[in-house]
């Protein structure tokens, strides 16, 4: 099969530890990889493996563990009625456990001994026993599971690791942004990604290696998009598609100060100088080509997840969008988007601005014990969506009959004859 994803040398692999924590490990050929405090193993053991297996580390080698399904826990008559609070304590001393560990006893054996020594164990309900066993396993097992770097999993990993760096974009929020922007293979997209490359990575994956993604960043150099590294994209899937400008070079009146310097041939003193001049020329041409690509316009969508004031971004980039293109702006806070929505409502050329907040709830699914997980991770941020249209001022004056209708929510209609800030006027066809 073509798209069978296997772990390749140099990949960043997400692994889930028995306690549920997810880490990113680098699998370089012939290296030794350490997984937190759990242990370490030879990287080559993992290379060529498909994702999703569970491994135990034994002498730096990996032993595949059998897959586990959920076990039905029998509900017996036992209750915790006779167990005194606070008495359900560690039945082996720390020293005893340490000695067992050092003697190379297997985790499951330590757990078994603890249970045997636990005076009250048989008094507990089956649910309590199950919980106890699981807790102990998480503590002593030297195992991990490899997680396929799907966009969903990578976003989830970053959200849990450091949600500020991805501007609070949760997997559900990201998926909504992609849907609203109608990202498809081979399309042409504009993006502003101050979210560590999460948005760029998601667009790149959807594009599948064809089309154009032009990002505008706030750095001199091409932007660092660390999230993209977790996706382990083949190089060509990124290089042929991704181009970047910054907020200076994307200005129409920008004049590069490092245009090629014409130095008389006799003044070129060294090969080194020659190389520099050539590189400079290449860089300049690349920049000019990218600028031309931007200015050619007709992009199919604009996605924004930026630390900068959004309406300025819209002003700058909307002229390069095709008619009917979607504009999708994310923010961790509602206020900037409330302000933006108010502006767009009164500007021609923008159809149906909507502001939404995603809501997500995960449930623990265990037989007989299904319940929502309570780590409700707060907000995944807010999304403003609006469609770029070509205004026709002559069509807007005769609509009084419509705008009087209750509940007909066409803001464009109501205000299109009013004066609007020219800064929000998109380019006309």
């Amino acid at each position: 099969m073509l798209n069978l994803p296997k772990i390749q040398p140099g990949h960043n692999v997400l692994v889930r530890q028995p306690n549920g924590d997810v880490r990113s490990i680098k699998v370089d050929r012939d290296s030794i990889v350490t997984v937190g405090r759990l242990g370490s193993f030879y990287a080559n053991e993992l290379i060529g493996q498909p994702y999703g297996f569970s491994y135990e580390m034994v002498n730096k080698q990996l032993k595949i563990l059998p897959v586990r399904t959920l076990e039905e826990v029998e509900d017996t008559d036992a209750t915790n009625e006779l167990i005194n609070d606070g008495e359900f304590v560690q039945p082996l001393t720390l020293d005893e456990i340490q000695t067992l560990k050092q003697s190379g006893v297997h985790a499951s054996e330590i757990i078994k001994r603890q249970i045997e020594q636990h005076a009250n164990y048989s008094l507990k309900t089956e649910y309590s026993k199950d919980k106890y066993k699981k807790r102990k396993e998480a503590k002593y097992s030297k195992s991990f599971i490899t997680i396929e770097p799907t966009m969903h999993n990578v976003c989830d990993y970053w959200f849990n690791k450091d949600q500020n760096r991805i501007r609070d974009i949760r997997p559900d929020t990201l998926s909504q942004m992609l849907a609203m922007a109608n990202v498809l293979p081979g399309g042409r997209y504009l993006a502003v990604d101050d979210a560590s490359g999460l948005v760029a990575a998601a667009i790149l994956e959807r594009m599948g290696g064809s089309g154009t993604l032009l990002t505008v960043c706030d750095t001199d150099s091409p932007p660092a998009y660390p999230v993209v590294a977790n996706m382990n994209f083949p190089t060509e899937m990124v290089q042929s598609v991704l181009k970047s400008l910054n907020w200076a070079t994307s200005e129409q009146h920008y004049v590069s100060v490092h245009a090629p310097v014409e130095i008389p041939a006799d003044e070129i003193r060294s090969d080194r100088q020659k190389t520099r001049l050539r590189k400079r020329k290449v860089a300049h041409e690349l920049l000019e080509n990218t600028r031309e690509e931007l200015f050619a316009g007709e992009f199919e969508a604009l996605m924004v997840a930026s630390q900068y004031e959004p309406s300025g971004i819209i002003d700058r980039l909307v002229p390069y969008l095709a008619g009917s293109a979607s504009i999708v702006v994310h923010s961790p806070h509602s206020q900037p988007l409330v302000d933006l929505q108010n502006k767009l409502r009164n500007a021609p050329g923008f159809l149906g601005p909507s502001l939404t907040e995603g809501w997500l709830r995960k449930y623990q699914v265990l037989p007989g014990r299904t319940h929502p997980t309570m780590n409700s991770s707060g907000s995944g941020g807010y999304i403003l969506h609006v469609i770029k249209v070509y205004d026709d001022p002559t069509a807007s004056s005769v609509i009084i009959s419509r705008s009087k209708k209750p509940k007909t929510d066409t803001e464009q209609t109501l205000d299109s004859s009013e004066a609007t800030p020219p800064s929000l006027r998109p380019s006309s066809p």
């Binding site: 999703g52 998926s175 109608n182 498809l184 095709a322 997500l360 709830r361 419509r402 509940k407």
Partner: protein
């Protein structure tokens, strides 16, 4: 899929945006007219203008916006044959099932084709969708629609009850989606349709908790792992009133002025010692029945 050209051409499917709550698909057939309470439009007049144009009515009483179809617009505008999935669910399922360029996807049932369109957008020309619908009329309508939207090469639509008869593919699907009243009856069949050489994913969508629990149980019995359940919503964010609130100082002043006015009247009454005709319905004791009520209060 739908036209990617800048301008609208004859035969294109477009989405007419009449109002936020009134969207409508239309196939451009020059010679025809589109009439609604938002005005009258000749199809021919739409040919050659760019997608995304605002168009004034021929008769001068209204306008519409003519948009390029997307699966999201289609979902809002489509003729609903069944309860459909909306953006939040579609987006989340697509993400969780890792449906992307080149994916091999199976779905049952087709329903109104809302999820189908979104999947075919995401998988591109190199992916494929096998879609199953047990209701014959719905299956035929969806087939026509897919054809009209230029999607026939991306989708294989089969009229079939997958709970009874299973799927037509084996060891093929990267992702499988069940939107059925009794998904548990299709789980064993689904297992056969999913590919075995890598992680493959299944999602079962159910409105009721009992259905979910029964499905979880069936998935577990069939050897699926990492079973989780999610709920997701897209909530419109209500903009909050930001106008400044009146202060108690303001209302206090109003109350005092009103009291002075009433007092003047009252003293006049006491002094005169007789009851004026016009005062008969105006209460004269300390507690007037006439409320000074501030804006927005409005007790009845």
């Amino acid at each position: 899929m739908w036209s990617k050209a800048r301008e609208i051409a004859a035969g294109d499917t477009v989405i007419l945006w009449l109002t936020r709550d009134a969207l409508q698909p239309l196939i451009i057939e020059p010679g025809k007219e589109f009439n609604s309470k938002f005005g009258s439009y000749r199809h021919a007049d739409l040919v050659g203008i760019p997608f995304g144009s605002k168009v004034g009515s021929r008769t001068g009483n209204g306008f519409i916006h003519v948009l390029r179809p997307t699966p999201e617009l289609w979902t809002i505008a489509l003729p609903h044959r069944t309860q459909i999935l909306y953006l939040a669910d579609i987006a989340f399922i697509t993400s969780y099932l890792n449906i992307k360029n080149g994916s091999q996807v199976v779905e049952a049932g087709t329903g109104s084709g809302s999820f189908s369109h979104s999947v075919m957008r995401s998988i591109g020309a190199s992916g494929h969708l096998w879609s199953y619908e047990f209701h014959e009329t719905r299956a035929n309508k969806a087939r026509q629609e897919f054809q009209r939207h230029g999607l026939s090469d991306r989708v294989t639509l089969t009229h079939r009850n997958v709970c009874k008869d299973g799927f037509t593919v084996t060891d093929t699907a990267d992702a499988l989606f069940l939107d059925l009243p009794a998904p548990w009856d299709a789980i064993e069949h689904a297992k056969k349709a999913l590919r075995k050489d890598r992680i493959a994913r299944i999602c079962c969508f159910s409105p009721c908790i009992e259905q979910v629990l029964r499905t979880v149980s069936a998935l577990n019995d069939s050897g699926f792992t990492d079973i989780t359940m999610y709920e997701t919503l897209l909530r419109p964010y209500d903009i909050q009133q930001t106008s400044s609130l009146p202060t108690i100082g303001e209302i206090s002043d109003k109350l005092k002025q009103s009291e002075i006015r009433r007092e003047e009247k009252r003293l006049k009454q006491i002094a005169s010692g007789h009851r004026g005709g016009t005062d008969s319905k105006s209460p004269a004791n300390g507690n007037s029945q006439k409320n000074v009520s501030a804006s927005g209060g409005g007790y009845e």
